[in-house]
Symmetry: C2
């Protein structure tokens, strides 16, 4: 039996980065240097790693980037003050506040404080609302956008298909549903969202032509959840103990890749699937913000 084809996020992200770089070069010819600011709070190694990865890639593409690091005990007002400053600064096109934040800070208030035109993460409610309405003059969250783009580049048909999304987070599940429900060629899907309160989760998954697992539960989706020939996208990132690793843990997805690749038609590797796409869309959003700044 033929194994599933890979939805190779690294490969597609590489293509997108090349396209982004071309836009950066054009913008520079128009005297615009796309630039992004990453804001970090405290010492959280995964956040430090993510910001480093994003910054490195931004630099490779010719996007100017800057990291502002606040101490763990920074006040809400200090962060807001900084955001207002960055909002005012016409040389800054994109602002990203790396989550999670320490619990004394309000992620909600901080998301609202970023100028929606610089909200390259697409987390401002006005950007999410516009996405739900099907509007285009806004920023969409990078993970759902990256998943749609990955499916699109592999010519996976989405229109009229059964999409089942596992998980209803604000950064993946809910915006993913909003995106694939839109009236467009790479959407128009029938969408079901299942989550921790759902019954018959397995049966829902078995209906899926496209199954998007975003619960963050290690290998929750086993072979018996998946219809033969389905497309399976794994967004999950969980740490599980692993004595054989020098770190003592390894990262696993929501999907039992080794078994499911035997029956799916397409599957994302994890790592190497959704993750690289998320960064690609973030930098593509940054350049979009720089382009839009020309018209405002």
């Amino acid at each position: 039996m033929k194994e599933a084809n890979l939805l190779d996020g690294r490969l597609v992200a590489h293509q997108i980065h090349r396209e982004t770089m071309e836009v950066v070069q054009k913008l520079r010819q128009h005297g615009v240097q796309p630039s992004v600011v990453f804001i970090r709070v405290g010492q959280f190694p995964p956040s430090e790693l993510y910001v480093r990865m994003k910054q490195k890639k931004a630099q490779e593409l010719g996007i100017k980037s800057q990291v502002i690091s606040f101490a763990e005990d920074v006040s809400q007002n200090e962060v807001l003050e900084k955001l207002y400053q960055l909002n005012q600064d016409p040389s800054i096109h994109g602002i990203l506040v790396q989550l999670p934040l320490p619990s004394h800070l309000s992620e909600k208030e901080i998301a609202l404080a970023i100028d929606p035109k610089k909200d390259i993460d697409g987390f401002h409610p006005i950007n999410l609302g516009k996405m739900l309405l099907g509007e285009k003059d806004c920023f969409y969250p990078c993970t759902p956008l990256g998943i749609q783009e990955l499916l699109k580049r592999y010519n996976i048909e989405i229109e009229g298909k059964e999409v089942v999304i596992l998980g209803r987070s604000n950064i993946v599940g809910k915006p993913m549903a909003a995106l694939l429900l839109q009236k467009s060629k790479y959407a128009n899907a029938t969408v079901t969202i299942v989550h921790s309160f759902s019954q018959n989760i397995k049966e829902h998954c078995q209906r899926a032509d496209i199954l998007i697992a975003a619960m963050g539960k290690a290998r929750f989706v086993t072979k018996d959840f998946v219809k033969a020939g389905a497309v399976v996208v794994d967004v999950g990132v969980s740490r599980v103990a692993d004595a054989s690793s020098h770190k003592g843990f390894k990262i696993v997805g929501d999907v039992d890749f080794d078994e499911i690749k035997k029956i799916a038609s397409w599957i994302t590797p994890n790592p190497g699937g959704v993750g690289p796409m998320t960064i690609a869309m973030l930098l593509s959003n940054t350049v979009k913000a720089a382009e839009l700044s020309l018209f405002s």
Copy 2:
């Protein structure tokens, strides 16, 4: 066989109106007179009727109301100017622009121009985005909110249930999904949205514990779409020719009420189901806006 119980929107709306009236009286004791402005453009008899109904009910509840009627050929700028004026006016708590608008006006731009704090229709993208995020300090669209409230007042269990929504409009289907996906006792549902591009629509409907029909297709949902014991909510409003009526037409819903009431456990009459709830939530939102104005 026992027939379905009625989800009596008129009755529940009446209760909600009484509660709203009590809040109006309290607000008056605090020196606040809740007030709403309805904006109409052109001569479109159904819009005139809707605005008249809303205004009449507002007056009954002690809410000050005012209708501003623009001529069919009003410019976008004139409408926006008026909105900015009303946004600035602290004595106005709610602003509603009756849709549809003539095609030379941009509904999108007009929705964005209403102060989100006065957006009692819940159509501003920032209010929709907050709804998607599960936030409460905002306004939810009146029809989905009215449906949730109707189910709640009849103690219909929603948590963990299969909800199938027919239709993905910006004013019903999509916000309805966002609302019933929220983490709360009267939500936490497994939600599927089907629409014109969906296949197997009937099979989806047959899975539904709660079926919400909002396509605007006269009697699209027939008995064979409905699981025995399901809860059926009919949002549809279609005109069909009717020689026996002096108007030459009658209003019918998306649901074949006479047949489906024989197998459903609960069903909305139509008219008398969702319609009255929508107006009740609109006026309840108006009073919420007046209350919030005390704290801003």
